[in-house]
Symmetry: C2
């Protein structure tokens, strides 16, 4: 039996408990897992043999002889990779999923698997070096497109030319000799929010990412719902208008009217037509305009920038109002670079959802910003990696 | 222990197997449930004592001595009640959930619990008499509004004045001395479709009902997803336009622009303005126009009626396209009275969804009409009633 082998259901329960609660005495494990004392001893032996737990950590005493603590092996290291369209983040976490190292840099996903994965490899080497580990116990990878979760491959990802059916999971697993799990980046961000963010411990919520594009994830009954083709949550191409043309080929997609790319385009148009002098000045100074510039202009009171943000917030809010009616979630988490444009955006989204969705669905519905922002994807990836190692599958 | 008591997980597995597959030998039960032969004997003893199974049905022989079959008790009877806004259907089923009797008649849900439940009681007496049973083993009830599934009460149901927090489950349970389960009517129709309709055995699908209003149900991982307030699937009040005013107080709700009530209103306007002579004739003859008349006029080639159906199908199709992107289901089932208006409607819905949702989400997505129509709600209700009796909760 190796760490790759299947866990028994009892082993899986033990491992998750130790991850989620920290070191436990055997008595605690017996009471929390319902596994008998003798069975527990056998399972712990197996888990120690494959290097997943250590049986005799520092003891705790409640008066009598100290009871030794069972803990996850100290040297377990999970690597999380959050591949976006234009940036990649890599982190490494210990067995309790504390991030020990984190690095982020620009990438162009359109460069294709060979070039992008070479960059990912360098970043893994870098963070592994920082924490002094030579081999990850498991790797989780998020990619900006639909994924066949079962096969570990991207499926027709519109932003990722050259990646369709690329054997990402198996390729990386072969390279690193450890289990690898691949999922959509927004799904993993939602998993990260549920592990260590504002949705901590929530079994149901709707997660929305406003970055270059717009995506969402549905967390239901404690798990991400992926849909039959792995593209559930892909709300960026919901039609909200008759124009403009979207790179996907349709017209009036949500993502074509709002999001980082749309804001940059709209701001550039307003600058070159001299509709907004603030934006024109920013364009003259920087040579190019991004969504961040729209936020800057709005904070300087530029009415055009404020209008662009308001109008985008309304369009997204309208879509979310429909999804809130449909799913009736107890929480909506908004994340992604564009979500940090300032109070105006969140206010507009909230007002639109609260006024357009049904009162019964919004009566007690917080719509909140992510607090862990850019680390959510990597955090979700290490959670997915440890879930895989600790699972019965 | 009474039939109301809790089942063990093993008993629950045995009961569902006997319901879903029919009578089994003990050897089959051992192999299908994984329960040991001696444990099985004990569980069957308990289940026979409370009257849920019979241990010695007719035997089957595969050459040697015939093995007696274990079966669900012959006298189990489940009652299903499908309360709509304007009609109520009641049926009674045996342990295998074959409908033995079915009756449907008009009702006005706005008459409130006292009057409506008196009518339901009469119908239960009628169908019970038809099949010669005196006491149901369990009752399932669907109502046309949001339900707190846990509490068994309607919650702020817009179509049901006087029913908010009415203790429907507990009241009926007290009256009949058997377990009762209450759910939203569209949710139960979806359960019925999954049991015996076009979605038979499907663990994931999107169910849409076009009746007087428009509703939907999300079946995910084998169960209806209800949402935090019990109103998941309530798509009738998704905003699709700026007008007209909806009875809910908002403007431009899907249900205000399409569905039985909207079609009747639009047809009456076209008749009185003499825009459509066919509809004007129907109005003169019948005194009132319904959605059915729009279907009749369309089949006679009336261009106004065809336009009303097309336009409604497009509006619904647009909403469904967004939900298909969001949920990425493997199947969409369309049901309800208005869904039977003819081929034009389904063609329009299909065309809109297939052209507006993402290719990855529609690549292999059947959009089909229900084949069990008006019995789906009652069938779902008896499934829910038996699920409750056969469950560990």
């Amino acid at each position: 039996m190796t760490p790759h082998s299947q866990r028994t259901p009892e082993q899986s329960r033990i491992l998750r408990l130790l991850r989620d609660r920290g070191p436990c005495t055997r008595a605690e494990l017996v009471s929390l897992t319902g596994v008998s004392r003798s069975r527990l001893a056998g399972e712990l032996d197996e888990l120690a043999t494959v290097g997943l737990v250590q049986r005799d950590g520092p003891g705790v005493s409640r008066g009598g002889r100290p009871s030794p603590l069972v803990a996850l092996a100290d040297d377990l290291r999970f690597v999380g990779v959050d591949l976006g369209a234009t940036s990649v983040a890599v982190g490494v976490a210990n067995s309790r999923l504390d991030l020990l190292a984190f690095v982020e840099e620009p990438v162009d996903i359109r460069d294709g698997p060979r070039k992008v994965l070479a960059q990912v490899r360098d970043l893994i080497t870098k963070v592994s070096g920082e924490v002094g580990t030579d081999r990850p116990s498991g790797i989780g990878i998020g990619v900006p497109g639909p994924v066949s979760y079962r096969d570990g491959v991207p499926v027709s990802p519109p932003l990722m030319p050259g990646w369709h059916h690329y054997p990402l999971r198996d390729q990386v697993a072969r390279e690193y000799g450890c289990p690898v799990t691949v999922d959509n980046d927004v799904n993993l961000m939602a998993v990260g929010e549920r592990w260590g963010g504002v949705a901590k411990g929530m079994d149901d919520f709707l997660f929305v990412k406003i970055g270059t594009g717009i995506g969402s994830a549905l967390v239901m009954n404690g798990a991400v719902y992926r849909g039959i083709a792995g593209c559930a949550g892909d709300i960026g191409h919901i039609r909200v208008d008759d124009e403009p043309l979207c790179p996907c080929g349709s017209r009036g997609c949500l993502e074509a009217t709002f999001g980082g790319a749309a804001l940059a385009r709209q701001a550039t148009a307003a600058a070159t037509s001299s509709e907004s002098t603030v934006l024109a000045d920013l364009l003259a100074r920087n040579g190019v305009l991004t969504a961040v510039d729209v936020g800057v202009a709005a904070r300087h009171g530029d009415p055009v920038a404020v209008r662009l943000i308001r109008s985008g917030g309304q369009r997204l809010g309208n879509v979310l109002a429909g999804l809130v009616n449909f799913m009736n979630p107890p929480l909506v988490v908004v994340s992604g670079g564009v979500s940090r444009l300032g109070h105006v955006l969140l206010a507009e989204i909230r007002q639109t959802v609260y006024s357009r969705a049904m009162p019964l669905a919004t009566g007690n519905l917080p719509i909140v910003l992510s607090e862990i922002g850019e680390t959510a994807g990597v955090l979700g990836a290490v959670v997915a990696a440890s879930d895989q190692i600790f699972s019965t599958l």
